[in-house]
């Protein structure tokens, strides 16, 4: 199904999702920080990311109604940026930095190790929906390479043993 069809379907009354009162309050505050509503789109996408645990067609439809922008426009902006959590991604998103300084210090081993361990390729999610593996660009932590960002946290100076321990610590 195309993104357009997905959003159209999500816009049907019975499949709609709505922001909670708390999120709405946050969004109202965000509006006050910018001279126009459109500028609040990136922060509002962040609110939606937390609210709906990843942004999908339903979240885009919800933001479109909230902000008075077209779903197509929001989809265009949303897909331009790579860091938002997308709907369907695992509980833990493993983002391995693959840019030059990390590559010089062995990020490739980290990626291969994770691929073997989890049985998925970068861009895929494990069947139990627990882990998503992603290769990302420079995380601004080149002095502590190799680096993996797992959800919001950086894990730095990783060895493969550290990585194993880390994966076990996630339930």
């Amino acid at each position: 199904m195309s993104a357009f069809q997905e959003i159209t379907q999500a816009a049907r009354e019975d499949e709609r999702v709505e922001f909670s009162a708390e999120a709405k309050k946050k969004i109202e505050w965000i509006y006050t920080r910018y001279p126009n509503r459109e500028a609040a789109l990136l922060p509002v996408l962040r609110v939606a990311e937390k609210e709906f645990d990843g942004i999908g067609a339903a979240a885009i439809d919800c933001i479109a109604r909230e902000m008075g922008l077209s779903p197509g426009y929001i989809y265009g902006v949303f897909t331009f940026y790579t860091h938002y959590k997308r709907a369907g991604e695992g509980k833990y998103v493993l983002q391995v930095c693959a840019t030059l300084p990390c590559a010089l210090r062995g990020c490739r081993d980290v990626v291969h190790h994770l691929e073997d361990k989890l049985g998925i390729k970068p861009g895929e999610t494990t069947e139990d929906g627990k882990f998503t593996l992603k290769k990302v660009e420079c995380l601004a932590s080149c002095d502590t390479a190799p680096v993996v960002q797992i959800n919001d946290d950086y894990h730095e100076n990783l060895t493969l043993e550290d990585l194993d321990k880390l994966l076990e610590s996630f339930e």
Partner: protein, 478 residues
């Protein structure tokens, strides 16, 4: 080159970052915090602040090295439109991690710099654009801004005057191009982070089509020190035309990677061998990228050079964001370049054809060479593509991809040639003018073509010439 005695150097930007609680406003106020902002607002007129910063020769630390005071003076004085002061904390140049330290460990020094900068251009609304990945940094800044509002450092009537300033922390979401100033402004407006054509420059028509100044985090952190201690003091640190403390990030194959505060003009060799502990595992130095992956690469014998904007420009590279990436003699330069180009292809915003297609072609060619299917003319094709990218696009991302590519290919050409010759034989027919030819042998195809004298031959079919590359292959790989 003479080495600097760093033991006498007094840290300015990183003075407090190692201290416990340096991120709180109480600590900051106890150590002379917000004095510079107070002095600027209560003792100087905005135009005087611009003059002091101009006089200090402070140059932007984001990459281009444009004089900060001059940039401010482009903002129109008499305009009905609101003005904006924007701080670029979208630190995403590969190898750069200096602003992250300031953001996480000394956020109030950034806020103080923002107050001074905003006052100088007479604006009342400031934004700080931080990259989305730095979640902890974002939380630290939000906390610091809240503290600053509570203590009256932000908001209405700063330091008992009628000057008001609002600051909002805006979080990006993972796009390298948003570090480019017009791309950043597009992103702040809630759009895709696509750069805009200049002119009009942001100083005249920037955020929300109003006059806007965009400064780097490290640049604004220098401001309070210039106000407090004067332009003359600042000019005495390092070379006069681009003075001041500089944060340099050393990464890659060194023993002690990290961010180091040094005076501008430190020798690059001294930085790598003394400050950062030398090349790891006792290996030899092979190449250094001195200013983030967008800069042209330096060979090991070229590193005896001062780290400042003009000296780097004189040897045809740039200090950029101060990201020194060190590569030892085990590094495969083809692989390194492939990594760099893959990055730029991924991050190209796609507006301009030379960049969108050029980075893609370069990536494909390098991938082919890596896979063993390279062709000898690929090397010149890459250089040709680079020529067609530089200066032909809205922003400098195309240049940033072309510079490392052309410099690595030119300076390490033999490695590319060796890799291509090592590769699978099948594709060598392009180079040799026919199907794969064994050393000394002449293929049937070539013999046939030779008979037919009317066939125009672009490539010489002399068996001697045909066999040469294959012979040299044996030499390079053995």
């Amino acid at each position: 080159m003479a080495e600097l005695d760093l033991s006498k150097y007094e840290k300015i930007l990183f003075k407090h970052v190692d201290q416990e609680g340096s991120d709180t406003i109480d600590y900051y106020l106890k150590h002379g915090g917000y004095e510079g902002a107070k002095k600027a607002i209560t003792e100087h007129r905005p135009s005087e602040v611009i003059d002091i910063v101009k006089e200090s020769n402070l140059r932007g630390r984001g990459g281009a090295g444009f004089p900060c005071g001059v940039k401010w003076s482009f903002v129109p004085q008499n305009t009905d439109k609101p003005k904006y002061f924007v701080v670029n904390a979208d630190e995403s140049e590969p190898g750069t991690f200096k602003d992250r330290v300031l953001i996480e460990r000394d956020p109030h020094s950034i806020i103080e710099g923002i107050i001074i900068g905003s006052y100088a251009i007479k604006c009342n609304v400031a934004y700080l654009y931080i990259r989305g990945e730095l979640v902890y940094g974002y939380e630290q800044l939000v906390k610091a801004v809240k503290e600053a509002y509570d203590k009256g450092m932000l908001g209405k009537g700063l330091f008992g005057t009628d000057y008001n300033l609002d600051l909002t922390i805006h979080r990006g979401a993972g796009a390298y191009i948003c570090g480019e100033e017009t791309g950043l402004l597009s992103s702040l407006e809630g759009k895709r982070g696509q750069p805009k054509i200049k002119p009009p420059f942001p100083a005249v028509e920037g955020l929300f089509r109003c006059p806007t100044v965009v400064n780097n985090v490290e640049t604004v952190c220098n401001l309070q020190h210039i106000i407090n201690r004067g332009a003359e003091w600042f000019k005495n640190i390092g070379p006069e035309k681009g003075p001041g403390p500089k944060l340099l990030c050393v990464s890659g194959h060194v023993n002690k990677p990290g961010t180091y505060e040094v005076p501008m003009g430190i020798n690059l060799k001294q930085l790598i061998y003394d400050v950062a502990g030398g090349v790891w595992k006792g290996n030899k130095l092979k190449a250094v990228i001195p200013g983030g992956t967008s800069a042209k690469v330096l060979k090991a014998e070229e590193v005896d050079v001062p780290c400042d904007f003009d000296s780097m420009m004189a040897i045809d590279t740039m200090l950029g964001s101060g990201a020194v990436i060190v590569m030892d003699d085990t590094t495969d330069m083809v692989d390194a370049l492939y990594n760099i180009i893959r990055f730029y292809h991924h991050e190209s915003c796609g507006q301009c054809t030379p960049c969108r297609e050029g980075t893609g072609w370069l990536e494909k060619i390098l991938k082919r060479i890596m896979a063993g299917h390279g062709r000898m003319e690929d090397i010149d094709t890459m250089l040709n593509i680079c020529d067609r990218m530089v200066g032909k696009t809205i922003c400098v991302l195309a240049d940033a991809a072309a510079f490392p590519c052309s410099s690595i290919v030119t300076k390490f050409r033999s490695e590319f040639e060796a890799k291509i010759q090592q590769g699978a034989g099948y594709d060598k027919r392009i180079f040799t003018g026919g199907p794969l030819v064994q050393p000394g042998a002449v293929s049937r195809h070539n013999q046939e073509r030779r008979k037919d004298k009317d066939t125009p031959n672009r490539i010489s079919l002399d068996p001697e010439l045909i066999s040469k590359p294959s012979q040299s292959k044996v030499e390079t790989t053995s």
